[in-house]
Symmetry: C2
DNA sequence: ATCGATCACGAAAATAATTTTCGGAATGGT
DNA sequence: ACCATTCCGAAAATTATTTTCGTGATCGAT
Protein backbone atom coordinates (compact mmCIF):
# COMPACT_ATOMS: atom_id res chain seq x y z
CA UNK A 1 0.00 0.00 0.00
CA UNK A 2 1.41 3.35 -0.94
CA UNK A 3 1.47 6.36 1.29
CA UNK A 4 -0.92 8.53 -0.62
CA UNK A 5 -3.67 5.93 -0.77
CA UNK A 6 -3.17 5.53 2.95
CA UNK A 7 -3.36 9.26 3.50
CA UNK A 8 -6.65 9.43 1.67
CA UNK A 9 -8.11 6.45 3.44
CA UNK A 10 -7.13 7.65 6.88
CA UNK A 11 -7.67 11.35 6.41
CA UNK A 12 -11.08 11.49 8.04
CA UNK A 13 -10.04 9.38 10.98
CA UNK A 14 -7.11 11.59 11.89
CA UNK A 15 -7.14 13.88 14.89
CA UNK A 16 -6.87 17.64 14.45
CA UNK A 17 -3.11 17.70 15.01
CA UNK A 18 -2.45 14.83 12.69
CA UNK A 19 -4.78 16.36 10.16
CA UNK A 20 -2.63 19.47 10.08
CA UNK A 21 0.40 17.33 9.35
CA UNK A 22 -1.45 15.58 6.55
CA UNK A 23 -2.45 18.92 5.05
CA UNK A 24 1.14 20.06 4.92
CA UNK A 25 2.14 16.88 3.15
CA UNK A 26 -0.47 17.37 0.50
CA UNK A 27 -0.15 21.12 0.09
CA UNK A 28 3.56 21.59 0.37
CA UNK A 29 5.16 18.35 -0.52
CA UNK A 30 8.45 20.03 -1.39
CA UNK A 31 8.71 21.40 2.08
CA UNK A 32 7.66 18.20 3.76
CA UNK A 33 10.04 15.96 1.93
CA UNK A 34 13.00 18.14 2.88
CA UNK A 35 11.98 19.05 6.40
CA UNK A 36 13.32 17.61 9.61
CA UNK A 37 10.87 16.28 12.12
CA UNK A 38 11.15 19.45 14.18
CA UNK A 39 10.64 21.65 11.13
CA UNK A 40 7.56 19.74 10.10
CA UNK A 41 6.26 19.70 13.67
CA UNK A 42 6.75 23.43 14.05
CA UNK A 43 5.03 24.22 10.78
CA UNK A 44 2.07 22.06 11.74
CA UNK A 45 1.99 23.59 15.21
CA UNK A 46 2.50 20.25 16.88
CA UNK A 47 5.27 18.58 18.82
CA UNK A 48 7.82 16.21 17.30
CA UNK A 49 6.40 13.18 19.11
CA UNK A 50 3.12 13.81 17.37
CA UNK A 51 4.87 13.62 14.04
CA UNK A 52 6.53 10.38 15.04
CA UNK A 53 3.18 8.96 16.04
CA UNK A 54 1.69 10.13 12.78
CA UNK A 55 4.39 8.30 10.83
CA UNK A 56 3.76 5.10 12.74
CA UNK A 57 0.09 5.42 12.09
CA UNK A 58 0.81 5.65 8.39
CA UNK A 59 2.49 2.31 8.59
CA UNK A 60 6.08 3.44 8.74
CA UNK A 61 8.74 2.37 11.20
CA UNK A 62 10.18 5.78 11.86
CA UNK A 63 10.26 9.30 10.61
CA UNK A 64 13.11 8.59 8.23
CA UNK A 65 11.31 5.56 6.87
CA UNK A 66 8.32 7.80 6.37
CA UNK A 67 10.35 10.35 4.47
CA UNK A 68 11.68 7.69 2.16
CA UNK A 69 8.18 6.40 1.49
CA UNK A 70 7.01 9.92 0.90
CA UNK A 71 9.79 10.70 -1.53
CA UNK A 72 9.29 7.47 -3.46
CA UNK A 73 5.57 7.54 -3.82
CA UNK A 74 5.22 11.21 -4.40
CA UNK A 75 7.58 11.38 -7.31
CA UNK A 76 4.72 10.17 -9.41
CA UNK A 77 1.78 10.05 -7.05
CA UNK A 78 1.58 13.63 -5.89
CA UNK A 79 -0.03 15.07 -8.98
CA UNK A 80 -3.10 13.07 -8.25
CA UNK A 81 -3.72 15.12 -5.15
CA UNK A 82 -2.38 18.38 -6.40
CA UNK A 83 -2.47 19.21 -10.09
CA UNK A 84 0.22 21.73 -10.84
CA UNK A 85 -0.07 24.80 -12.98
CA UNK A 86 1.97 24.72 -16.14
CA UNK A 87 3.97 27.22 -18.11
CA UNK A 88 4.37 27.50 -21.84
CA UNK A 89 8.11 26.95 -21.96
CA UNK A 90 8.98 23.88 -23.99
CA UNK A 91 10.86 22.26 -21.14
CA UNK A 92 7.95 22.70 -18.76
CA UNK A 93 5.48 21.31 -21.23
CA UNK A 94 7.65 18.27 -21.84
CA UNK A 95 8.03 17.72 -18.12
CA UNK A 96 4.34 18.12 -17.58
CA UNK A 97 3.37 15.68 -20.32
CA UNK A 98 5.81 13.08 -19.02
CA UNK A 99 4.67 13.51 -15.45
CA UNK A 100 1.04 13.20 -16.40
CA UNK A 101 1.79 10.03 -18.30
CA UNK A 102 3.78 8.58 -15.42
CA UNK A 103 1.06 9.57 -13.06
CA UNK A 104 -1.59 7.92 -15.22
CA UNK A 105 0.50 4.74 -15.17
CA UNK A 106 0.85 4.95 -11.43
CA UNK A 107 -2.89 5.31 -10.92
CA UNK A 108 -3.79 2.70 -13.48
CA UNK A 109 -1.46 0.24 -11.81
CA UNK A 110 -2.73 1.03 -8.36
CA UNK A 111 -6.33 0.47 -9.31
CA UNK A 112 -5.68 -2.48 -11.58
CA UNK A 113 -8.16 -5.31 -11.23
CA UNK A 114 -5.80 -8.24 -11.46
CA UNK A 115 -8.36 -11.03 -11.27
CA UNK A 116 -10.31 -9.40 -14.10
CA UNK A 117 -7.26 -9.03 -16.27
CA UNK A 118 -6.32 -12.63 -15.57
CA UNK A 119 -9.75 -13.82 -16.55
CA UNK A 120 -9.45 -11.79 -19.74
CA UNK A 121 -6.03 -13.30 -20.42
CA UNK A 122 -7.43 -16.81 -19.94
CA UNK A 123 -10.24 -16.13 -22.38
CA UNK A 124 -8.02 -14.56 -25.00
CA UNK A 125 -5.28 -17.16 -24.74
CA UNK A 126 -7.84 -19.85 -25.45
CA UNK A 127 -9.70 -18.02 -28.21
CA UNK A 128 -10.21 -19.53 -31.64
CA UNK A 129 -10.37 -16.07 -33.11
CA UNK A 130 -10.23 -12.62 -31.57
CA UNK A 131 -12.04 -9.48 -32.68
CA UNK A 132 -10.57 -6.24 -31.30
CA UNK A 133 -12.88 -3.25 -31.59
CA UNK A 134 -12.56 0.42 -30.77
CA UNK A 135 -13.38 3.74 -32.36
CA UNK A 136 -12.69 7.43 -31.95
CA UNK A 137 -8.97 7.70 -32.44
CA UNK A 138 -7.82 6.62 -29.04
CA UNK A 139 -9.72 3.38 -28.75
CA UNK A 140 -9.08 2.53 -32.36
CA UNK A 141 -5.39 2.86 -31.58
CA UNK A 142 -5.89 0.49 -28.67
CA UNK A 143 -7.72 -2.02 -30.85
CA UNK A 144 -4.88 -1.81 -33.35
CA UNK A 145 -2.38 -2.36 -30.59
CA UNK A 146 -4.20 -5.43 -29.40
CA UNK A 147 -3.82 -6.85 -32.86
CA UNK A 148 -0.22 -5.72 -33.02
CA UNK A 149 0.65 -7.45 -29.74
CA UNK A 150 -1.43 -10.58 -30.02
CA UNK A 151 -0.74 -11.75 -33.54
CA UNK A 152 2.88 -11.99 -32.43
CA UNK A 153 1.89 -14.63 -29.93
CA UNK A 154 0.38 -16.80 -32.64
CA UNK A 155 -3.21 -15.77 -31.97
CA UNK A 156 -5.69 -15.15 -34.74
CA UNK A 157 -6.94 -11.63 -34.43
CA UNK A 158 -8.40 -8.82 -36.44
CA UNK A 159 -9.03 -5.23 -35.40
CA UNK A 160 -11.67 -2.83 -36.61
CA UNK A 161 -12.61 0.78 -35.95
CA UNK A 162 -15.63 0.66 -38.24
CA UNK A 163 -18.78 0.33 -36.18
CA UNK A 164 -20.86 -1.09 -39.01
CA UNK A 165 -18.22 -3.67 -39.75
CA UNK A 166 -17.91 -4.38 -36.03
CA UNK A 167 -21.56 -5.26 -35.87
CA UNK A 168 -21.26 -7.57 -38.85
CA UNK A 169 -18.18 -9.21 -37.44
CA UNK A 170 -19.89 -9.67 -34.09
CA UNK A 171 -22.74 -11.37 -35.92
CA UNK A 172 -20.28 -13.65 -37.67
CA UNK A 173 -18.39 -14.56 -34.49
CA UNK A 174 -18.80 -18.04 -33.06
CA UNK A 175 -18.64 -19.61 -29.62
CA UNK A 176 -14.96 -20.05 -28.84
CA UNK A 177 -14.17 -16.67 -30.34
CA UNK A 178 -13.57 -13.66 -28.13
CA UNK A 179 -14.56 -10.08 -28.74
CA UNK A 180 -12.48 -7.45 -26.96
CA UNK A 181 -13.41 -3.79 -27.16
CA UNK A 182 -12.03 -0.57 -25.84
CA UNK A 183 -13.84 2.64 -24.98
CA UNK A 184 -12.24 5.45 -22.98
CA UNK A 185 -15.58 6.98 -22.17
CA UNK A 186 -17.53 3.76 -21.78
CA UNK A 187 -20.32 5.35 -23.81
CA UNK A 188 -19.69 3.92 -27.23
CA UNK A 189 -23.23 2.64 -27.79
CA UNK A 190 -22.34 0.86 -31.03
CA UNK A 191 -19.64 -1.10 -29.24
CA UNK A 192 -22.06 -2.05 -26.48
CA UNK A 193 -24.46 -3.27 -29.16
CA UNK A 194 -21.75 -5.42 -30.73
CA UNK A 195 -21.08 -6.89 -27.28
CA UNK A 196 -24.72 -7.75 -26.73
CA UNK A 197 -24.96 -9.37 -30.10
CA UNK A 198 -21.83 -11.43 -29.53
CA UNK A 199 -23.01 -12.60 -26.12
CA UNK A 200 -26.31 -13.80 -27.51
CA UNK A 201 -24.37 -16.16 -29.72
CA UNK A 202 -22.13 -17.40 -26.94
CA UNK A 203 -19.07 -15.41 -27.94
CA UNK A 204 -17.14 -14.20 -24.88
CA UNK A 205 -16.71 -10.44 -24.56
CA UNK A 206 -14.04 -8.41 -22.81
CA UNK A 207 -14.19 -4.65 -22.26
CA UNK A 208 -11.34 -2.30 -21.56
CA UNK A 209 -13.21 0.74 -20.29
CA UNK A 210 -14.49 2.79 -17.40
CA UNK A 211 -16.23 0.72 -14.78
CA UNK A 212 -19.92 1.39 -14.23
CA UNK A 213 -20.42 2.41 -17.83
CA UNK A 214 -22.76 1.07 -20.54
CA UNK A 215 -19.88 -0.65 -22.32
CA UNK A 216 -18.72 -2.30 -19.10
CA UNK A 217 -22.26 -3.46 -18.40
CA UNK A 218 -22.51 -5.11 -21.82
CA UNK A 219 -19.37 -7.23 -21.46
CA UNK A 220 -18.72 -10.56 -19.75
CA UNK A 221 -15.39 -9.43 -18.33
CA UNK A 222 -14.44 -5.82 -17.76
CA UNK A 223 -10.92 -4.58 -17.20
CA UNK A 224 -11.77 -1.29 -15.55
CA UNK A 225 -9.63 1.77 -16.11
CA UNK A 226 -10.91 4.81 -14.28
CA UNK A 227 -8.89 7.94 -14.69
CA UNK A 228 -9.95 11.55 -14.62
CA UNK A 229 -9.30 13.57 -17.74
CA UNK A 230 -6.60 16.22 -17.41
CA UNK A 231 -7.96 19.76 -17.25
CA UNK A 232 -5.94 21.24 -20.09
CA UNK A 233 -7.79 20.58 -23.32
CA UNK A 234 -4.72 21.21 -25.45
CA UNK A 235 -2.90 18.46 -23.67
CA UNK A 236 -3.41 15.02 -25.18
CA UNK A 237 -4.94 12.68 -22.71
CA UNK A 238 -2.56 10.71 -20.57
CA UNK A 239 -5.27 8.12 -20.30
CA UNK A 240 -4.25 6.66 -23.64
CA UNK A 241 -0.89 5.79 -22.20
CA UNK A 242 -2.54 3.97 -19.34
CA UNK A 243 -4.68 2.00 -21.78
CA UNK A 244 -1.69 1.16 -23.89
CA UNK A 245 0.23 -0.17 -20.92
CA UNK A 246 -2.83 -2.08 -19.75
CA UNK A 247 -2.80 -3.75 -23.16
CA UNK A 248 0.86 -4.55 -22.62
CA UNK A 249 0.11 -6.16 -19.30
CA UNK A 250 -2.70 -8.18 -20.84
CA UNK A 251 -0.47 -9.27 -23.72
CA UNK A 252 2.29 -10.28 -21.31
CA UNK A 253 -0.11 -12.39 -19.28
CA UNK A 254 -1.43 -14.03 -22.41
CA UNK A 255 2.15 -14.75 -23.46
CA UNK A 256 2.82 -16.68 -20.25
CA UNK A 257 -0.28 -18.77 -20.93
CA UNK A 258 0.88 -19.90 -24.34
CA UNK A 259 4.62 -19.92 -24.21
CA UNK A 260 5.63 -22.68 -26.65
CA UNK A 261 3.46 -21.40 -29.45
CA UNK A 262 4.34 -17.79 -28.70
CA UNK A 263 8.05 -18.49 -28.73
CA UNK A 264 7.85 -20.20 -32.09
CA UNK A 265 5.83 -17.39 -33.62
CA UNK A 266 8.08 -14.69 -32.24
CA UNK A 267 11.16 -16.51 -33.53
CA UNK A 268 9.73 -16.62 -37.01
CA UNK A 269 8.81 -12.96 -36.90
CA UNK A 270 12.19 -11.94 -35.60
CA UNK A 271 14.02 -13.98 -38.18
CA UNK A 272 11.96 -12.40 -40.92
CA UNK A 273 12.94 -8.98 -39.64
CA UNK A 274 16.60 -9.78 -39.32
CA UNK A 275 16.77 -11.19 -42.82
CA UNK A 276 14.77 -8.32 -44.21
CA UNK A 277 16.74 -5.58 -42.45
CA UNK A 278 20.48 -5.81 -41.97
CA UNK A 279 21.07 -8.50 -39.43
CA UNK A 280 21.13 -6.45 -36.25
CA UNK A 281 19.03 -8.56 -33.93
CA UNK A 282 19.19 -6.14 -31.02
CA UNK A 283 16.54 -4.11 -32.81
CA UNK A 284 12.99 -3.93 -31.53
CA UNK A 285 10.71 -6.69 -32.64
CA UNK A 286 8.98 -4.81 -35.42
CA UNK A 287 9.40 -1.22 -36.31
CA UNK B 1 20.44 16.83 -12.86
CA UNK B 2 19.29 13.62 -11.31
CA UNK B 3 21.30 11.51 -8.96
CA UNK B 4 21.76 8.52 -11.16
CA UNK B 5 23.07 10.47 -14.12
CA UNK B 6 25.45 12.09 -11.67
CA UNK B 7 26.52 8.74 -10.31
CA UNK B 8 27.33 7.50 -13.76
CA UNK B 9 29.21 10.63 -14.73
CA UNK B 10 31.29 10.70 -11.58
CA UNK B 11 31.80 7.01 -11.09
CA UNK B 12 35.27 6.85 -12.59
CA UNK B 13 36.51 9.91 -10.74
CA UNK B 14 35.53 8.56 -7.34
CA UNK B 15 38.09 7.29 -4.87
CA UNK B 16 38.11 3.67 -3.79
CA UNK B 17 36.07 4.34 -0.66
CA UNK B 18 33.53 6.45 -2.42
CA UNK B 19 33.35 3.91 -5.18
CA UNK B 20 32.33 1.29 -2.67
CA UNK B 21 29.52 3.54 -1.51
CA UNK B 22 28.40 4.04 -5.09
CA UNK B 23 28.39 0.30 -5.68
CA UNK B 24 26.11 -0.28 -2.75
CA UNK B 25 23.69 2.33 -4.05
CA UNK B 26 23.52 0.67 -7.41
CA UNK B 27 23.52 -2.93 -6.27
CA UNK B 28 21.39 -2.75 -3.20
CA UNK B 29 19.22 0.24 -3.54
CA UNK B 30 16.66 -1.10 -1.11
CA UNK B 31 19.25 -1.30 1.59
CA UNK B 32 20.75 2.07 0.82
CA UNK B 33 17.51 3.96 0.82
CA UNK B 34 16.57 2.63 4.24
CA UNK B 35 19.98 2.71 5.87
CA UNK B 36 21.28 5.25 8.33
CA UNK B 37 24.55 6.93 7.58
CA UNK B 38 26.35 4.62 9.99
CA UNK B 39 24.74 1.54 8.49
CA UNK B 40 25.72 2.56 5.00
CA UNK B 41 29.21 3.49 6.14
CA UNK B 42 29.70 0.19 7.90
CA UNK B 43 28.51 -1.82 4.92
CA UNK B 44 30.86 0.08 2.63
CA UNK B 45 33.70 -0.30 5.10
CA UNK B 46 34.16 3.43 5.44
CA UNK B 47 33.54 5.98 8.16
CA UNK B 48 30.43 8.13 8.40
CA UNK B 49 32.28 11.33 7.46
CA UNK B 50 33.21 9.72 4.17
CA UNK B 51 29.57 9.12 3.45
CA UNK B 52 28.76 12.73 4.25
CA UNK B 53 31.51 13.89 1.93
CA UNK B 54 30.22 11.55 -0.74
CA UNK B 55 26.75 13.05 -0.47
CA UNK B 56 28.12 16.56 -0.79
CA UNK B 57 30.08 15.51 -3.79
CA UNK B 58 26.91 14.28 -5.41
CA UNK B 59 25.50 17.74 -5.09
CA UNK B 60 23.39 17.26 -1.99
CA UNK B 61 23.34 19.40 1.11
CA UNK B 62 23.35 16.64 3.63
CA UNK B 63 22.86 12.96 4.07
CA UNK B 64 19.14 13.31 4.53
CA UNK B 65 18.89 15.47 1.43
CA UNK B 66 20.79 12.76 -0.37
CA UNK B 67 18.40 10.09 0.79
CA UNK B 68 15.44 12.07 -0.42
CA UNK B 69 17.05 12.55 -3.82
CA UNK B 70 17.87 8.89 -3.94
CA UNK B 71 14.36 7.83 -3.08
CA UNK B 72 12.80 10.20 -5.60
CA UNK B 73 14.98 9.48 -8.56
CA UNK B 74 15.28 5.81 -8.03
CA UNK B 75 11.59 5.11 -7.98
CA UNK B 76 11.72 5.18 -11.74
CA UNK B 77 15.39 5.55 -12.58
CA UNK B 78 16.93 2.56 -10.92
CA UNK B 79 15.96 -0.05 -13.44
CA UNK B 80 18.19 1.57 -15.95
CA UNK B 81 21.21 0.52 -13.96
CA UNK B 82 19.88 -2.73 -12.68
CA UNK B 83 17.37 -4.71 -14.67
CA UNK B 84 15.49 -6.96 -12.31
CA UNK B 85 14.53 -10.54 -12.83
CA UNK B 86 10.81 -11.11 -13.13
CA UNK B 87 8.46 -13.77 -11.94
CA UNK B 88 5.42 -15.16 -13.66
CA UNK B 89 2.87 -14.09 -11.08
CA UNK B 90 0.32 -11.75 -12.59
CA UNK B 91 1.01 -9.03 -10.06
CA UNK B 92 4.73 -9.12 -10.74
CA UNK B 93 4.24 -9.00 -14.47
CA UNK B 94 1.92 -6.01 -14.16
CA UNK B 95 4.39 -4.25 -11.90
CA UNK B 96 7.22 -5.01 -14.24
CA UNK B 97 5.42 -3.76 -17.33
CA UNK B 98 4.42 -0.55 -15.59
CA UNK B 99 7.89 0.02 -14.26
CA UNK B 100 9.48 -0.55 -17.63
CA UNK B 101 7.08 1.91 -19.18
CA UNK B 102 7.75 4.50 -16.48
CA UNK B 103 11.42 3.94 -16.85
CA UNK B 104 11.26 4.37 -20.62
CA UNK B 105 9.46 7.66 -20.05
CA UNK B 106 12.08 8.74 -17.56
CA UNK B 107 14.91 7.98 -19.96
CA UNK B 108 13.17 9.48 -22.96
CA UNK B 109 12.54 12.66 -21.03
CA UNK B 110 16.07 12.85 -19.72
CA UNK B 111 17.58 12.50 -23.15
CA UNK B 112 14.99 14.62 -24.94
CA UNK B 113 16.43 16.99 -27.53
CA UNK B 114 14.27 20.02 -26.82
CA UNK B 115 15.64 22.29 -29.54
CA UNK B 116 15.02 19.56 -32.11
CA UNK B 117 11.48 18.98 -30.95
CA UNK B 118 10.83 22.73 -30.99
CA UNK B 119 12.12 22.99 -34.53
CA UNK B 120 9.84 20.11 -35.48
CA UNK B 121 6.91 21.84 -33.78
CA UNK B 122 7.62 25.04 -35.69
CA UNK B 123 7.69 23.20 -38.98
CA UNK B 124 4.54 21.23 -38.31
CA UNK B 125 2.58 24.17 -36.95
CA UNK B 126 3.28 26.05 -40.17
CA UNK B 127 2.66 23.17 -42.55
CA UNK B 128 0.16 23.39 -45.38
CA UNK B 129 -0.30 19.66 -45.23
CA UNK B 130 1.29 16.95 -43.13
CA UNK B 131 2.09 13.39 -44.11
CA UNK B 132 2.72 11.03 -41.17
CA UNK B 133 4.42 7.79 -42.10
CA UNK B 134 5.41 4.67 -40.22
CA UNK B 135 5.24 0.92 -40.70
CA UNK B 136 5.68 -2.27 -38.76
CA UNK B 137 2.97 -2.12 -36.15
CA UNK B 138 4.61 0.17 -33.66
CA UNK B 139 5.57 2.99 -35.98
CA UNK B 140 2.31 2.73 -37.84
CA UNK B 141 0.57 3.24 -34.52
CA UNK B 142 2.73 6.32 -33.97
CA UNK B 143 1.86 7.69 -37.42
CA UNK B 144 -1.80 7.12 -36.64
CA UNK B 145 -1.41 8.91 -33.36
CA UNK B 146 0.19 11.89 -35.04
CA UNK B 147 -2.89 12.14 -37.18
CA UNK B 148 -5.13 11.59 -34.20
CA UNK B 149 -3.48 14.41 -32.23
CA UNK B 150 -2.85 16.91 -34.95
CA UNK B 151 -6.14 16.98 -36.84
CA UNK B 152 -7.64 18.12 -33.54
CA UNK B 153 -5.55 21.24 -33.71
CA UNK B 154 -6.96 22.14 -37.11
CA UNK B 155 -3.99 20.86 -39.08
CA UNK B 156 -4.39 18.99 -42.35
CA UNK B 157 -2.81 15.61 -41.96
CA UNK B 158 -2.96 12.11 -43.32
CA UNK B 159 -1.20 9.01 -42.04
CA UNK B 160 -0.06 5.97 -43.95
CA UNK B 161 1.60 2.68 -43.11
CA UNK B 162 1.77 1.57 -46.74
CA UNK B 163 5.29 2.04 -48.04
CA UNK B 164 4.27 2.13 -51.71
CA UNK B 165 1.62 4.71 -50.96
CA UNK B 166 4.11 6.63 -48.83
CA UNK B 167 6.43 6.94 -51.77
CA UNK B 168 3.65 8.19 -54.01
CA UNK B 169 2.48 10.66 -51.41
CA UNK B 170 6.02 11.90 -50.92
CA UNK B 171 6.21 12.46 -54.66
CA UNK B 172 2.96 14.41 -54.55
CA UNK B 173 4.02 16.57 -51.60
CA UNK B 174 4.82 20.22 -52.20
CA UNK B 175 7.06 22.80 -50.60
CA UNK B 176 5.24 24.04 -47.54
CA UNK B 177 4.13 20.52 -46.70
CA UNK B 178 5.87 18.52 -44.00
CA UNK B 179 6.57 14.82 -43.92
CA UNK B 180 7.00 13.25 -40.50
CA UNK B 181 8.02 9.64 -40.16
CA UNK B 182 8.64 7.26 -37.30
CA UNK B 183 10.92 4.25 -37.14
CA UNK B 184 11.84 2.52 -33.90
CA UNK B 185 14.82 0.84 -35.45
CA UNK B 186 15.87 3.68 -37.74
CA UNK B 187 16.35 1.09 -40.47
CA UNK B 188 13.16 1.42 -42.43
CA UNK B 189 14.80 1.89 -45.83
CA UNK B 190 11.53 2.66 -47.59
CA UNK B 191 10.84 5.46 -45.17
CA UNK B 192 14.33 6.89 -45.72
CA UNK B 193 13.65 6.78 -49.45
CA UNK B 194 10.41 8.72 -49.02
CA UNK B 195 12.34 11.30 -47.01
CA UNK B 196 14.97 11.72 -49.71
CA UNK B 197 12.32 12.11 -52.35
CA UNK B 198 10.44 14.71 -50.33
CA UNK B 199 13.57 16.72 -49.63
CA UNK B 200 14.45 16.87 -53.30
CA UNK B 201 11.18 18.66 -53.84
CA UNK B 202 11.64 21.07 -50.98
CA UNK B 203 9.25 19.34 -48.59
CA UNK B 204 10.52 19.50 -45.01
CA UNK B 205 11.06 16.16 -43.28
CA UNK B 206 10.98 15.25 -39.61
CA UNK B 207 12.06 11.90 -38.21
CA UNK B 208 11.12 10.35 -34.89
CA UNK B 209 13.74 7.63 -34.60
CA UNK B 210 17.06 6.45 -33.23
CA UNK B 211 19.83 8.95 -33.69
CA UNK B 212 22.71 7.94 -35.95
CA UNK B 213 20.48 5.75 -38.08
CA UNK B 214 19.73 5.77 -41.82
CA UNK B 215 16.28 7.25 -41.25
CA UNK B 216 17.72 10.01 -39.06
CA UNK B 217 20.33 10.77 -41.70
CA UNK B 218 17.65 11.16 -44.36
CA UNK B 219 15.58 13.75 -42.46
CA UNK B 220 15.94 17.51 -42.06
CA UNK B 221 15.07 17.43 -38.39
CA UNK B 222 15.43 14.39 -36.16
CA UNK B 223 13.80 13.96 -32.80
CA UNK B 224 16.09 11.28 -31.43
CA UNK B 225 14.76 8.58 -29.14
CA UNK B 226 17.42 6.12 -28.10
CA UNK B 227 16.29 3.37 -25.80
CA UNK B 228 17.58 -0.12 -25.40
CA UNK B 229 15.15 -2.92 -26.08
CA UNK B 230 14.07 -4.88 -23.02
CA UNK B 231 15.61 -8.34 -22.79
CA UNK B 232 12.40 -10.34 -22.42
CA UNK B 233 11.06 -11.02 -25.89
CA UNK B 234 7.59 -11.84 -24.60
CA UNK B 235 7.32 -8.40 -23.11
CA UNK B 236 6.01 -5.76 -25.46
CA UNK B 237 8.48 -3.00 -25.93
CA UNK B 238 8.26 -0.10 -23.54
CA UNK B 239 9.82 1.98 -26.25
CA UNK B 240 6.42 2.42 -27.87
CA UNK B 241 5.20 4.21 -24.79
CA UNK B 242 8.13 6.59 -24.98
CA UNK B 243 7.37 7.32 -28.62
CA UNK B 244 3.74 7.87 -27.87
CA UNK B 245 4.53 10.36 -25.13
CA UNK B 246 7.07 12.06 -27.37
CA UNK B 247 4.24 12.53 -29.85
CA UNK B 248 2.16 14.02 -27.04
CA UNK B 249 4.91 16.47 -26.22
CA UNK B 250 5.23 17.43 -29.85
CA UNK B 251 1.48 17.86 -30.18
CA UNK B 252 1.38 20.00 -27.05
CA UNK B 253 4.11 22.27 -28.37
CA UNK B 254 2.33 22.58 -31.70
CA UNK B 255 -0.85 23.49 -29.84
CA UNK B 256 0.84 26.41 -28.11
CA UNK B 257 1.99 27.65 -31.51
CA UNK B 258 -1.49 27.81 -32.94
CA UNK B 259 -3.81 28.42 -30.06
CA UNK B 260 -6.69 30.38 -31.58
CA UNK B 261 -7.20 27.94 -34.39
CA UNK B 262 -6.63 24.95 -32.16
CA UNK B 263 -9.14 26.16 -29.60
CA UNK B 264 -11.81 26.66 -32.22
CA UNK B 265 -11.25 23.24 -33.71
CA UNK B 266 -11.19 21.50 -30.36
CA UNK B 267 -14.42 23.24 -29.35
CA UNK B 268 -16.15 22.00 -32.46
CA UNK B 269 -14.93 18.48 -31.91
CA UNK B 270 -15.94 18.47 -28.29
CA UNK B 271 -19.37 19.81 -29.05
CA UNK B 272 -19.88 17.16 -31.66
CA UNK B 273 -19.01 14.51 -29.09
CA UNK B 274 -21.23 15.93 -26.41
CA UNK B 275 -24.19 16.12 -28.74
CA UNK B 276 -23.54 12.69 -30.14
CA UNK B 277 -23.06 11.01 -26.78
CA UNK B 278 -25.13 11.93 -23.77
CA UNK B 279 -23.98 15.34 -22.72
CA UNK B 280 -21.33 14.49 -20.16
CA UNK B 281 -18.55 16.87 -21.09
CA UNK B 282 -16.08 15.55 -18.52
CA UNK B 283 -15.43 12.72 -20.92
CA UNK B 284 -12.17 12.40 -22.83
CA UNK B 285 -11.96 14.26 -26.06
CA UNK B 286 -12.67 11.37 -28.37
CA UNK B 287 -13.08 7.78 -27.40
C1' DA C 1 65.96 10.99 -2.51
C1' DT C 2 63.70 14.80 -0.07
C1' DC C 3 60.55 18.33 0.60
C1' DG C 4 56.14 20.42 0.37
C1' DA C 5 51.53 20.40 -1.18
C1' DT C 6 47.48 18.06 -1.62
C1' DC C 7 44.18 14.66 -0.91
C1' DA C 8 41.63 10.82 1.31
C1' DC C 9 40.20 9.23 5.36
C1' DG C 10 38.81 8.18 10.19
C1' DA C 11 38.71 9.16 15.45
C1' DA C 12 36.70 11.91 18.45
C1' DA C 13 34.07 15.81 19.71
C1' DA C 14 30.28 18.70 18.90
C1' DT C 15 25.93 19.28 17.37
C1' DA C 16 21.47 18.11 15.88
C1' DA C 17 17.70 15.12 15.28
C1' DT C 18 14.68 11.57 16.76
C1' DT C 19 12.38 8.63 19.94
C1' DT C 20 10.81 7.26 24.46
C1' DT C 21 8.77 8.10 28.69
C1' DC C 22 5.54 10.05 31.36
C1' DG C 23 1.99 12.97 32.90
C1' DG C 24 -1.69 16.45 32.13
C1' DA C 25 -5.86 17.75 29.69
C1' DA C 26 -9.88 16.72 27.19
C1' DT C 27 -13.64 13.70 25.89
C1' DG C 28 -17.15 10.38 26.39
C1' DG C 29 -19.48 6.73 28.58
C1' DT C 30 -21.52 4.90 32.91
C1' DA D 1 -19.01 12.43 39.60
C1' DC D 2 -15.89 8.89 38.26
C1' DC D 3 -13.29 6.05 35.33
C1' DA D 4 -11.33 4.83 30.87
C1' DT D 5 -9.51 6.32 26.86
C1' DT D 6 -7.34 9.23 23.70
C1' DC D 7 -4.51 13.01 22.38
C1' DC D 8 -0.57 15.48 22.93
C1' DG D 9 3.65 17.94 24.60
C1' DA D 10 7.79 18.60 27.95
C1' DA D 11 11.74 16.67 29.11
C1' DA D 12 14.96 13.01 29.08
C1' DA D 13 17.28 9.52 26.70
C1' DT D 14 18.94 7.88 22.73
C1' DT D 15 20.65 7.94 18.26
C1' DA D 16 22.28 10.07 14.14
C1' DT D 17 24.90 13.39 11.67
C1' DT D 18 28.38 16.76 10.97
C1' DT D 19 32.53 19.21 12.11
C1' DT D 20 37.12 19.43 13.42
C1' DC D 21 41.45 17.95 13.21
C1' DG D 22 45.38 14.88 12.68
C1' DT D 23 47.54 10.95 10.21
C1' DG D 24 49.20 8.70 6.32
C1' DA D 25 49.50 8.27 1.35
C1' DT D 26 50.53 10.14 -3.17
C1' DC D 27 52.58 13.06 -6.47
C1' DG D 28 55.28 16.59 -8.59
C1' DA D 29 59.14 19.60 -8.22
C1' DT D 30 63.73 20.34 -6.86
Amino acid sequence: MDLFSMLQDERTRLSASEGRIADILVNDYEFAVNASITGLAERAGVSPPTVTRFCRRMGCDSYSDFKVQLARTAYVGIRYLRPEPQSHAAGDIAKDVVEQAQNALFLMHRALDLPAIERAADLLAGAEMIYAFGSGGNSSMIAGELQNRLFRLGLRITASADHALQLMMAAAARPGDVLIGSSLSGRNAELARAFSLARQQGTATVALTQSASPVAAAADVTIPIDLAEAPNIYRPTATRVAYLVAVDILASLIATRMQPQATATLRRIKQQLVVHRDGDDRQPLGD
